[in-house]
């Protein structure tokens, strides 16, 4: 999976920037671990836990949606299936969601493959609409199935921990998941598989005729993404302790994930790390400052402004800054390789 592009990595200044980024990430992670260990404010631990959950979901979405260019509005489908898998296994067999989370991932990936075969033939808006409709269809099935207890939902008993310890547990679980998935997405971005996905995004037909096995690439990306989303859903079920079809298959989940990916910069591993905390913290601040109607309006305005002035998201803006910096440093060539 080693990328052919490794031979063309940038020069000394680019390496310095990368090193700076790595140090920043390590220090940030260290600070988060420290806060998770000693922090006592449940509200902040809970909010950060949600941020890590969304980092995980957005990174997973990014694999097919960001790198592959398939705008998927169906994250909630696989999240809900993952959540219901662990909830049902607990309800009927008494198995802990922490043990059955991988099974939740497998179930979500299985559904992802089944749904992916017909839907991944569609492109653009058609794919987006169909993925959204599938969420509603699966939600209706779960609403009417006896194994899921229909609209009554499923209760999961709370773990025998203090409220603070509980928040701390989920803080670290979702942080761990977010770190692992971010590393995976980083590896994908720098692999031949990632570049093949980018080629699919740029021009699927052109990619296919020059030898990229586009169908296989899309199916694998979809299976990996849905597996991760399913695991996150499986753990989420234990966190909220009561699962009903409206919560588990909420369209808000799908919409938030797309917003985070786009605002952060779709197709970059850094995008979700920037946008998930930004959106959730801003939304939280707006929620406590304004009424629900007003905060939604303000939030929408913020999103429109970002879409207008940062069409490639925060990472697109940072990339253009980086290019300007290199042009300033190397006015003759203006490119990074020249500085090697």
């Amino acid at each position: 999976m080693l990328s052919i592009f490794f031979v063309r990595k940038g020069g000394a200044e680019d390496r310095t920037l990368r090193l700076f980024g790595l140090v920043f990430c390590v220090l940030g992670l260290g600070a988060l671990i420290l806060y998770g260990a000693i922090g006592t404010k449940q509200g902040i631990l809970s909010l950060l836990g949600t941020v890590f959950l969304y980092v995980t979901l957005t990174q997973a979405w990014n694999i097919l949606g960001g790198y592959g260019g398939y705008l998927n509005f169906g994250t909630a489908t696989f999240f809900g299936v993952g959540a219901y898998t662990t909830a049902v296994l607990f309800h009927h067999y008494g198995l802990s969601p922490f043990l059955t989370a991988p099974i939740a991932g497998v179930m979500a990936a299985l559904l992802g493959v089944i749904v992916g075969v017909p839907t991944l033939r569609l492109r653009g808006a058609y794919f987006a609409i169909v993925t959204m409709i599938i969420t509603f269809a699966v939600q209706i099935v779960v609403l009417n199935a006896s194994i899921t207890q229909g609209p009554m939902g499923i209760f999961l008993p709370p773990l025998k921990l203090s409220p603070l310890a509980l928040e701390r547990l989920f803080f670290f679980m979702f942080l761990g998941l977010a770190v692992v998935v971010t590393l995976l997405v980083y590896a994908i971005e720098n692999s031949n598989f990632g570049w093949a996905l980018v080629a699919v995004r740029e021009d699927e037909d052109a990619a296919e005729v020059i030898g990229v096995k586009t169908t296989r690439i899309k199916y694998i990306a979809n299976a990996v993404a849905t597996f991760i989303i399913g695991i996150a859903g499986g753990i989420f079920a234990q966190r909220i302790m009561y699962l009903d079809p409206t919560t588990a298959f909420s369209f808000d989940i799908s919409l938030n994930v797309v917003l985070m990916a786009v605002i952060g910069g779709a197709g970059t591993w850094q995008g979700p790390l920037i946008a998930a905390p930004l959106i959730l913290v801003v939304a939280d601040m707006l929620r406590v400052t304004f009424t629900s109607e007003v905060n939604r309006v303000i939030f929408s305005i913020v999103v429109i402004v970002i879409a207008l002035y940062l069409p490639h998201g925060a990472m697109g803006f940072m990339t253009s800054l980086r290019q300007k910096y290199f042009k300033w440093r190397n006015p003759k060539t203006g490119d990074e390789v020249a500085s090697a």
Partner: protein
């Protein structure tokens, strides 16, 4: 060894009630340039899409190097040495020029990869884009995009290159570069080209063999100079000269 690299035999293709191709047959010999001409809507691009595996033929067969291409995907055919360019240059806009050339090499490994990377560098110089290697493809002019797409089609050292209107709307200098490169690749590497173009005089000079399609049928095939003098070709495509 079969003298023909590609055999198109009685190929038919229909889209609903529209007959795009009707019993089209011809061969592409090894180390040759075959020109494909015909009026708009005569089925030239459809034929390239059938040869390329984008469309499956409704009737007839396409045989590449003695092996039928039936049910093979474009990526499979690319692995067997079929490459192509499109009517409008389709480059990967957000990637750099050299990254565009690396995409076809993704599945290669080890020594083969190292050789291919060297070839990518050589091809950029060959088509005159070496100074633009680190530019994003979207920054190139229309003609440069054509050259890039051409270089990308050559990077895997294919045996058959399908080119759909490569000379349309490009500067004469870029057209000359493309013609020179095609001739050199045929001579040096023994590749074959199937070139669709409305630039008939250029194609007559470039081709060893020519096929004219009119309304999805072969109106004439053979020596390029004979084809352009053929009555059916004049009537169905070229029209009478004023003289």
């Amino acid at each position: 060894m079969n003298p023909a690299l590609l055999e198109v035999d009685s190929v038919g293709k229909q889209f609903g009630g529209l007959v795009a191709l009707s019993s089209v047959s011809f061969d592409v010999p090894r180390s040759s340039v075959v020109g494909l001409i015909g009026p708009n809507g005569s089925g030239k691009t459809t034929l390239l899409n059938v040869i390329n595996g984008i469309y499956a033929p409704d009737r007839g067969s396409v045989v590449l190097d003695g092996v039928p291409t039936k049910n093979r995907s474009p990526s499979d055919l690319a692995a067997s040495g079929v490459s192509r360019t499109f009517q409008n240059a389709r480059v990967f806009s957000t990637l750099s020029v050299e990254q565009n050339l690396f995409i076809p090499l993704l599945h290669r490994s080890g020594g083969e990869r190292a050789k291919s990377i060297k070839r990518a560098d050589e091809l950029l110089a060959f088509v005159g884009l070496e100074a633009h290697a680190n530019k994003t493809a979207i920054e190139l002019s229309g003609g440069q995009k054509r050259l890039l797409e051409f270089a990308r089609a050559l990077v895997t050292k294919p045996g058959l290159i399908l080119m759909d209107e490569p000379f349309a709307g490009v500067h004469p200098q870029i057209k000359a570069t493309l013609i020179r490169c095609i001739q050199e690749i045929v001579e040096r590497e023994g590749a074959s080209f199937l070139v669709v173009s409305h630039e008939v005089p250029d194609l007559v000079n470039l081709s060893n063999f020519m096929v004219c399609l009119v309304e999805g049928k072969v109106a004439a095939a053979g020596n390029p100079k004979d084809v352009v003098r053929n009555e059916k070709v004049i009537e169905g495509y070229l029209g009478q000269s004023d003289e």
